[in-house]
C-alpha cells in the first residue's frame, strides 16, 4: 500500500512516515508544500493521502477539492491543528474520509490509516481469508492452512495487496505503483522475484493454487474468473 503525507512540518512528516513503514509496511511518500503535494497526489495512484490543512502555497482543502473534482477516489485523512468543529465538518463535506487533530496518538493514526485502506478494497473485516490463506491486516499475521507463515516486510506488502484485491487480475505496473515509494529503485523483475518467494513459502508445488499467473496481464489470488 502506498501512502502520501502532505505536511509542511518535515519532522512530523518523517516521524509519521517512519511509523507507517515500520508498523504497516506501507510505502510512504512525503511532500512538504501544497503545490508539490497536489502534483504528487494527481500523478500517482495512492491508497491513502494524509493531508495537513495549513500548507504553504496551496491549502489542504484546495488540494482535496481539486482531487475530488478530478474524480480521484483516494481516501483522504485530514490532519488539523485547529480544534474547530466547523472546519472538520467542512473538510468531511468536501470529500475527506477521516480526520485527526494535532497532537495525535501515532497508534490511532496508524489504525485509522489501516481501516481506511481496508474499506477502500471492500474489506471491513481486518482478517481477509482466501483459499486457505488468512491475513490479518491489523496484526500482520499470515496463516496458510492453519500454519503461521513468516514473511519479510516486502513480501507481506505484496501479499496484502494481492489478497485485498483477491479475485481481480493485478498487473505488474499496478503492483509497482502501489508497493514502492517514489524514491525506491524498482526494476520490473523485482515483482517476479517476490512472487516466486511468496509461492515458495505459501504455495509450493508444480500447480499454483493460490497465486495464479494470468499470462500477459498479471497475477491473481483466489478463484480464476471464468
Amino acid at each position: 500500500m502506498r501512502v502520501l503525507i502532505v505536511e509542511d512540518e518535515i519532522r512530523l512528516a518523517r516521524n509519521v512516515a517512519k511509523a507507517l513503514t515500520e508498523i504497516t509496511s506501507f510505502a510512504v511518500d512525503i511532500s512538504t508544500d501544497g503545490e508539490d503535494g497536489q502534483h504528487q497526489a494527481q500523478s500517482s495512484p495512492y491508497d491513502l493521502i494524509i493531508l495537513d490543512l495549513m500548507l504553504p502555497k496551496i491549502g489542504g482543502l484546495k488540494i482535496l477539492e481539486r482531487l475530488r473534482r478530478d474524480g480521484n477516489r483516494v481516501p483522504v485523512l485530514i490532519l488539523t491543528a485547529r480544534n474547530a468543529t466547523d472546519e472538520v465538518i467542512r473538510a468531511l463535506d468536501m470529500g475527506s474520509d477521516d480526520y485527526l487533530t494535532k497532537p495525535f496518538e501515532m497508534g490511532e493514526l496508524i489504525a485509522r490509516c489501516r481501516a481506511l485502506i481496508r474499506r477502500t478494497y471492500g474489506h471491513p473485516d481486518p482478517v481477509v481469508s482466501v483459499g486457505g490463506l488468512s491475513l490479518n491486516t491489523a496484526s500482520r499475521m499470515v496463516t496458510f492452512r492453519g500454519q503461521p507463515v513468516a514473511l519479510s516486510a516486502m513480501e507481506y506488502r505484496l501479499l496484502e495487496y494481492l489478497v485485498l484485491r483477491a479475485g481481480q487480475i493485478v498487473t505488474k505496473a499496478e503492483i509497482i505503483e502501489h508497493l514502492y515509494d517514489f524514491g525506491a529503485e524498482n526494476f520490473s523483475n523485482v515483482v517476479e522475484v517476490y512472487v516466486s518467494t511468496l509461492r515458495k513459502k505459501l504455495d509450493p508445488g508444480p500447480q499454483h493454487v493460490l497465486i495464479h499467473t494470468v499470462r500477459g496481464r498479471g497475477y491473481l489470488v483466489g478463484e480464476m474468473p471464468q
Binding site: D8, E9, I10, R11, L12, N15, V16, K18, A19, E22, I23, M54, L55, P56, K57, G59, A81, R82, K102, P103, F104, E105, M106, G107
Partner: protein
C-alpha cells in the same frame, strides 16, 4: 444597608406631594365653606340685631314691644330657633328676654364671654359653644350690640342656633375625609405603577444588561434609538464600552486561540518523535538522534512561550517599566555587533551606518528587544551572504529614525499591513525554514507603540525590504552625550 430604590424614592416623593395637595385643598375648602355658612348666619343675625335695636327705639308699650321683638327674632319652632336678651349695663334685670335655651347654653346666654363685648355703639359676632356639648347640637351664633339709649348703654344679645351650620360642616368633613382618603389611597396605589412605567426604559436596559454574557457582548447594538432622549447618552456610553470590551475580548480570544495553535505544533512534533521512537527497539544512535530532535523542538517551544509571555506582559502593563535616557547609538552598536558575528558564520554582514550621539527616553531592555527582533528578522529573511544595513538618523524634527534594511525579496504589497499582526507569516504557514514564530514583528510594534513611536515596512524587489522605526527624541540629550564617549570614536 442597601440604598433605597429609585422607584420607591420617586413613588414616595410623588405620593407625599399628592397627599399634601389633597390636604391643603381639603382644609381650604372646609374653611371657606365654614366662613361662607357663618356669613349667611351673620347676615340674618345682623338684620335681626338691627331690627331689635330699631324696635327698642320705637315708643311702644312693653307688650307691643315684646310682640315686635318676637316677630323679629322669629318663632321658636323653626329649624334655626333664635333667642334674645336685652339689658342695660347698670341694670341687674333683663329689660326684655325671650325664652332662653336649655342648659348649658342658658348659662352662656346669661353670661356671654366678656372678651367678646363690643365697644359702645358697635357690635360683634361670636360663637356660643359649650364645652359640655361636644356634638354642637345646641351651638349658637350670636350678635352682641351695645347702643346708647339716652344715658344708658343697652346690650342686645341675639343668638341663633348654628347647629345646621355645624351639621353641614360635619357632613362636608365626612365627604372630604372619604374623598381625600380615597384619593390618597388611589395615589399610593397608582403612583408606583406610573413610576414603574416611567422607569421602564431603565428596567428594560438593565434586563438587557443582565442577558449580556461574554459571548453575546458584541451583539448589543441598534437599541440606542429606542431609548428615551434622556437615556440616550447613557445607553450610547454603555454601548461604546461594550463594543470596546468586545473588541478587547475578541483580540484576547484570538490571541489565546493563536497561541494554543502555535504551541500545538511543536508539541505534536515532539509527541510524534517520541511515539515513533517507542514503536520498537532501536540503536542508541537512533535514540540519541530522537533526543536531540526533541530537545531542539523543546527549545523552539521555550522561545515561543517566552515571546508569548512578553507580548502578554506588554498588553498587561500600560507604562514602560523604567523610562530612562537610552543612548540609541550605543545600544544599536551593541546589537549590530552581536548579529554581525552570528551572520558572519553564514558569510553575511550586519552593518551600522555612522551614528551620531542620539538618546531617547524609554525602557532600555524593551528597546534592545525591539532592535534584536528587527535585525534578527532581517538576517533570517534576507538572502544568504547578504548585508543588513542599520541606519540611525536624527532629523530636524524631534524624531529619531532607525532603518533596518535587508536585500531580501519582494513582499507582496497586500500582505505588508498584516506583517505586524501576531502569528502572521507571509506564506500563511509555519516557516520553519527561517525559524520564525510569527511574533517578532508583533512584539516590535508593541514596543514602538509603547514608546509613542511608529513602525512601517516597505518592500521593493529592486531595493529590498526596509523596516523604519520613528521614536520621539529625548529632550535633554546634551548632558548624556557629553558624559559618554561616542561609540565611533
Amino acid at each position: 444597608m442597601s440604598p433605597m430604590s429609585i422607584k420607591l424614592r420617586l413613588s414616595l416623593l410623588v405620593s407625599l406631594i399628592a397627599v399634601a395637595v389633597i390636604l391643603t385643598v381639603s382644609i381650604v375648602a372646609y374653611v371657606e365653606l365654614e366662613e361662607s355658612l357663618m356669613d349667611n348666619v351673620d347676615d340674618v343675625l345682623g338684620a335681626m340685631g338691627e331690627g331689635v335695636v330699631a324696635a327698642l327705639g320705637e315708643d311702644e308699650d312693653s307688650q307691643n314691644r315684646v310682640t315686635a321683638l318676637q316677630s323679629i327674632v322669629g318663632r321658636k319652632d323653626v329649624r334655626d330657633p333664635a333667642w334674645y336678651r336685652i339689658w342695660t349695663d347698670d341694670g341687674d334685670q333683663d329689660l326684655f328676654a325671650s325664652e332662653l335655651p336649655d342648659d348649658p347654653y342658658r348659662e352662656l346666654f346669661l353670661h356671654p364671654p366678656i372678651d367678646k363685648r363690643p365697644r359702645e355703639g358697635e357690635s360683634s359676632f361670636f360663637n356660643l359653644i359649650s364645652s359640655r356639648d361636644p356634638d354642637k347640637k345646641g351651638a349658637c351664633r350670636a350678635i352682641w350690640i351695645r347702643r346708647f339709649f339716652g344715658q344708658e348703654v343697652v346690650n342686645v344679645l341675639v343668638g341663633r342656633s348654628s347647629h345646621y351650620v355645624y351639621h353641614e360642616l360635619s357632613e362636608f368633613y365626612d365627604l372630604l375625609l372619604a374623598l381625600g382618603g380615597g384619593l390618597t389611597l388611589l395615589v399610593f396605589l397608582l403612583v408606583p405603577v406610573f413610576v414603574s412605567w416611567g422607569l421602564n426604559p431603565i428596567t428594560q436596559a438593565s434586563a438587557r444588561l443582565r442577558t449580556i454574557t461574554h459571548k453575546s457582548i458584541g451583539q448589543q447594538n441598534s437599541s440606542g434609538a429606542e431609548a428615551p432622549p434622556e437615556l440616550r447618552p447613557f445607553v450610547g456610553a454603555l454601548e461604546g464600552m461594550l463594543a470596546r470590551l468586545d473588541k478587547a475580548m475578541r483580540q484576547q480570544e484570538q490571541f489565546v486561540a493563536d497561541a494554543a495553535h502555535e504551541l500545538r505544533t511543536p508539541v505534536t512534533i515532539i509527541k510524534s518523535t517520541l511515539q515513533t521512537a517507542r514503536l520498537k527497539h532501536r540503536t542508541s544512535d537512533e535514540y540519541e538522534q530522537d533526543i536531540d530532535e526533541t530537545l531542539e523542538d523543546i527549545g523552539h517551544l521555550e522561545r515561543l512561550i517566552g515571546q508569548l509571555l512578553s507580548l502578554a506582559g506588554f498588553q498587561a502593563r500600560n507604562e514602560p517599566t523604567k523610562p530612562t535616557e537610552v543612548r540609541l547609538d550605543i545600544l544599536l552598536d551593541g546589537v549590530v555587533g552581536i548579529f554581525d558575528a552570528l551572520a558572519a558564520r553564514q558569510g553575511g554582514r550586519v552593518v551600522l551606518a555612522e551614528a551620531t550621539c542620539t538618546s531617547v527616553t524609554g525602557d532600555e531592555d524593551n528597546l534592545r528587544q525591539l532592535f534584536n527582533n528587527l535585525i534578527d528578522n532581517a538576517v533570517r529573511h534576507g538572502p544568504a551572504r547578504g548585508t543588513v544595513l542599520v541606519t540611525l538618523d536624527t532629523g530636524p524634527d524631534s524624531q529619531v529614525t532607525v532603518t533596518v534594511h535587508d536585500e531580501g525579496g519582494h513582499i507582496p504589497p497586500e500582505v505588508l499591513p498584516h506583517l505586524f499582526e501576531r502569528f502572521y507569516r507571509v506564506d500563511s504557514s509555519r516557516s520553519k525554514a527561517s525559524g520564525g514564530s510569527g511574533l517578532g514583528l508583533a512584539i516590535a510594534r508593541e514596543i514602538v507603540l509603547r514608546h509613542d513611536g511608529d513602525i512601517t515596512i516597505t518592500s521593493d524587489p529592486g531595493a529590498g525590504t526596509s523596516v523604519v522605526v520613528h521614536l520621539p527624541r529625548s529632550r535633554c540629550q546634551a548632558p548624556a552625550c557629553s558624559s559618554r564617549s561616542s561609540p565611533n570614536s
